[in-house]
Structure formats: structure tokens, C-alpha cells
């Protein structure tokens, strides 16, 4: 990746992060932590890997994203708006009655949303089915399956993983957002997942670890996975819940945040102006 390309990716990440913060602050609450941990992943996927057409969101030859941890819909919406799937003003209608942006992604409502998710675990099998269909159709399309580390508690994930590995679905790239937290707290305290990368290897996946806050690292992992033609592939993304905003990384209840006191509102506003300044700045100074 050239320096220029990397800077472009970082700018897109900043823009997505900014839009998530603005959207959730406008609404007054929302799934902040798990949306922020996927910002860099989304900007890499949409910039470098996915084949899509914002003017024709249902283009049959497109690659697909299944955001199985559907509560992080905000990160997808921010990405889609920046890529021209719909007007940015629509972002502020998140969760409003009649909106095209419900808290959990809905493929019937939003241009660019490939699959409906929200009941955790179910996206894994859906992606497995999509990947099987691509194979049956003999196309080279990919489906990127994004799963939460807490979500892995659901047995359905492991049923899907067994299938994906047994059927050698190299066209279903499983990306696990290992931000070490779920709703009630740390994953290791709720239901110790042990070593997720090792588990995936034991399930038969070619598994690559990546720094989920670093576009270059994510991109290298995706390149490696796409070289594999005869087996299942997984990227274990090392991330932080609330990623990219120190205050929210350290905020204990950062799963669903309520912007209901001056301190937390200020933290969001400060992060917003910092990101806006960054985006206004000269590329070379970054």
C-alpha cells in the first residue's frame, strides 16, 4: 500500500468514526463501543476489497457483508453514507419511527445492506449459505462475515464454522471483532472464550491475527486470506471496544452509551471536534 493510499484509508476511518459519534450523540444513546471497534475494518473492506455499486446496491455480482453483530449497524450506515449509497443527512434519522436506518441492519430497508441481522449468531449461517450459493454459481464473489467475540457464545456460530470449514468455503472470510467485551462486561468474566484464534484453527480455519485499529494490518490479513483457495479462512481482529476515542475506550459501560450527562456529552463533542480538525488538516501533516 502506498503512503497516499494509507492516508486515504485513515481519512475514511476518521470520517466514519466522526459520523458514528454525531449520529449517536444526535439520538442521545446507542451501541457506540462495538460500532467504533469496527471502523478501520469497514474502511479497509469498502475501500480495497468489496465490489459494489452505490447506484445499484442490489447488483448481483457484488461482494457482500454480513454484519452478524447487527447492533453495530451504525458503523455500516456511516460507511455506506460516505460511499454514496444514500444521503448523509439520513444518518440523523437512526432509529426514528419510519426510518430506513433501524438500530439493527435490515436488507429490505437500507440501500447497501446485504443481510438482516440483530439476533446474534444468525448471520454466521446466513453467510455460509451465501458463500455456498456463490460457489454453486461458480462466481468469484466474496462474503465478509463479521462476528462479535461475545456473539461467539451462541452455539449457532460454531455450527456455521464447522460447515464453512468442512465445505472449504474460502469465499466466506470470517472476521472476528475481538474487543474483549460483550454486553454485561469482559468476555473472559462472562464466558471465558480462551484463545479464539486457536479455537478457529482447531475448527479447521486458516487463521490470521490482525491489529483491528490499523488499516495496513487488516489489509495484509485480508490479502493473506484471499490467497487461500482450498480451505476456510478467519481473521482474528484485535480491537478495543470504543476504539479510537480514549474516553470511550476507558468508559466501563461502553456497550450502549447514554449521552445523558454533561461529562459524557463533552467527551463526544471533544472527539467530534478533534476528528473534524484532523479531517480539515493538510494530508501531509497527519
Amino acid at each position: 500500500m502506498t503512503k497516499e493510499q494509507l492516508l486515504d484509508l485513515k481519512r475514511l476511518s476518521a470520517q466514519i468514526r466522526l459520523d458514528i459519534l454525531k449520529m449517536l450523540l444526535h439520538m442521545g444513546y446507542g451501541h457506540l463501543g462495538g460500532s467504533l471497534s469496527l471502523v478501520e475494518t469497514m474502511s479497509v473492506l469498502y475501500s480495497k476489497y468489496l465490489r459494489y455499486d452505490p447506484k445499484n446496491p442490489r447488483w448481483t455480482d457484488r461482494d457482500m457483508i454480513v454484519l452478524s453483530k447487527g447492533h453495530a449497524g451504525a458503523v455500516l450506515y456511516a460507511a455506506l453514507a460516505n460511499l454514496g449509497f444514500f444521503d448523509k443527512e439520513i444518518l440523523n434519522s437512526l432509529n426514528e419511527g419510519g426510518t430506513i436506518l433501524p438500530s439493527h441492519p435490515d436488507r429490505l430497508k437500507t440501500p447497501g445492506i446485504d443481510m438482516t441481522t440483530g439476533s446474534l449468531g444468525q448471520g454466521t449461517s446466513l453467510a455460509a449459505g451465501i458463500a455456498t450459493g456463490f460457489k454453486l454459481n461458480k462466481t468469484d464473489q466474496y462474503v465478509y462475515l463479521i462476528v462479535g467475540d461475545g456473539e461467539l457464545n451462541e452455539g449457532q456460530c460454531w455450527e456455521a464454522f464447522q460447515y464453512i470449514a468442512a465445505k472449504k468455503l474460502n469465499n466466506c472470510i470470517v472476521m472476528i471483532d475481538i474487543n474483549k467485551k460483550q454486553l454485561d462486561g469482559w468476555t473472559k468474566d462472562i464466558l471465558n472464550p480462551f484463545d479464539i484464534a486457536k479455537k478457529m484453527e482447531a475448527f479447521g480455519f486458516f487463521t490470521v491475527k490482525a491489529n483491528g485499529a490499523d488499516e495496513e494490518s487488516i489489509s495484509m490479513a485480508l490479502d493473506k486470506c484471499r490467497e487461500i483457495k482450498d480451505g476456510a479462512v478467519c481473521i482474528a481482529l484485535d480491537t478495543t471496544k470504543g476504539q479510537g476515542v480514549k474516553y470511550f475506550e476507558n468508559y466501563a459501560s461502553n456497550h450502549s452509551v447514554k449521552f445523558n450527562n454533561p461529562e459524557i456529552i463533552k467527551a463526544a463533542e471533544d472527539a467530534i471536534s478533534e476528528l473534524e480538525n484532523y479531517l480539515k488538516g493538510d494530508k501531509k501533516n497527519v
Binding site: 426514528e96 419511527g97 433501524p102 438500530s103 451462541e154 454485561d184 462472562i190
Partner: protein
Amino acid sequence: MFSLDINNEKTELAKTFVATLIELMKTDDKIIALDADLGSASGLEKIKKTNPDRFIDVGIAEANMTGIAAGLSAVGFIPFIHSFAPFVSRRNYDQLYMAGAYAHNTVNIFGSDPGFAVGPNGGTHTSFEDVALMREIPEAIVCDASDAVLLEWIVKTFAKLKGIHYVRANRKGVKNIYKKGSTFELGKANVLNEGKDILIVCAGQLVSDALDACKILADKNVSAQVIDMFCIKPLDAETLLKCAAGKKAVMSFENHSIVGGLGSAVAEVLAENAVGVKFKRIGVNDRFGEVGSQEYLQKTFGLTAQNLVEQALTLLGKN
């Protein structure tokens, strides 16, 4: 015996649920609570402080939680499980059916934020069918709690019984209806007032709205009677038939699909007893849930006092 204490104040029903379990745990060391990574949303994680080994957070695994609860009951424990209503009715249905009901194990279920109470969690988290699913399980008891006093009584009653027991309720604030200390009877409807023109059979959070509708109807010279059919299974056919007798019309009013829930149960009784009265089910008509505030959803699905009034007037031929 119950009496009414309608005061426009609200109680958060998740708090009532948790406080009741903690109270029960003081005298019964067999009571145990399980949640599936919503312990902070339900408040059940409080039990970690009061009774550390009587709260199990199984992680995001509702089917597993249901099986674990059934297993616990097989060795003498009295399990209460919680998640959002769709995830402890739909998602874990076979575990409830087989590991629970069929094997005669005990699982007490609190399905929270049913129907429009889902608010911003939207369509994927909406359950307009949980009552229908639960009614279908042989011997299961199915309740919809209209206020905190009733919910407390239901939870305490479930704790004494063996089998599959389901109660749905909003986690958030719901208007108070009953006086503290009221007692009820499982399988007996609560007749809330007298009325001669129309009977409104209702359950859950909508009971308050039905009472509001009653007042509006009274201004229009329609005398409406409301019964809180909090126990949807077994249904109190006797009270239903008694109250329906002589009325010009009967209506059911539920925060649920009109297929398989309270309205269906009422229709079954009326039809089988040849009660030839005008009848209308007010509920969700073959639609999925969607996102929005509770108020927006209540309006969108026609689950308001205003709509109930309109429908009642139409049914009586007064519109």
C-alpha cells in the same frame, strides 16, 4: 383479593422482577436466576451481590440457558431465566419444549420488552408471537403482567409450581393499577369495573390504555367493562362468559399478534360456547415489528386507547 390503585405513577417492571427474586431467595435457597448477557439490562446482575452463587450469566446463548435451567430443575433448583421476549420464546423453543415441558422439568421465564415495548431495538427484537408459541406448549402457564403488583404476585406464584411458566412484561416504567398487597388467582381474570354495553378483554401493559378508553367511551355514553386476563393460559372461560353475557359487543386488546394470542383464546371460548355476540380482536394484524419509540410503535400498530375507542364505536355502529 385485589383492589385498584390507579395513580398515573409508573414502576419499572424489571426492577420489580429482580427485587421479587431477591426477596424469594431470602427464604428459599433453591431459587436461581439465569441471564444471557442481559444481566445489566434486566438488573439480575444485582443478585451477584446479594446471593453470589444464585445468579448465572451463561453468556449470549439462550437455548443453552434454557437447557441449563431445565437441568438445574432436575436436581431440585427453581430456575428463572430472562432475556428479551423473542430470545426466550422463539430462539429457544425446542429446548423449552423438549428439555423443559416434555421432560417435566421446570423453567420459569421472564420475556422482557414484548411487542411495542421493544422501542429502539426494532423489528429483530420484537415479539408479537411469544404468547402464541407459549400457549402451544402442553401444560405451560402463560401470563402477561399489567403492572408491578401483579408481576410480583406472578413471580412468587410461579416459584411454587412445577412446569413451564412464561410471563412477559416491559422492563421499563408501566403505570400502576393494583394496590400493593393485592392477591390474585392463577387462571382467574381480574374484573376491573362494571359496564353494560361492551366488554374489553385485555392483558399486559395495555390494560391501562383500556381503562383510559373506558373513560373516553363513557363520555360518549358507552358503558365499557374491562377485564385483565393476565393469565392467558389457562384462560378463565367462566368469567369471560359471565361478563360477555348481555353485552352488545366483545373486544380483545393485546400487544401481540391477533393470531394465537389473547384474542384467539377469547374467540375460541366465545365460539365453542355459541356466544353470538359481535366480536373484534384489536392487536397486530399479520405484520412484523419495526423500530421507533414505544409511543410511535403503539400508534403505528393501533394499540392506543384512541384506536380502541374508534373500533368500539364502529363495532357498536355508532361511528
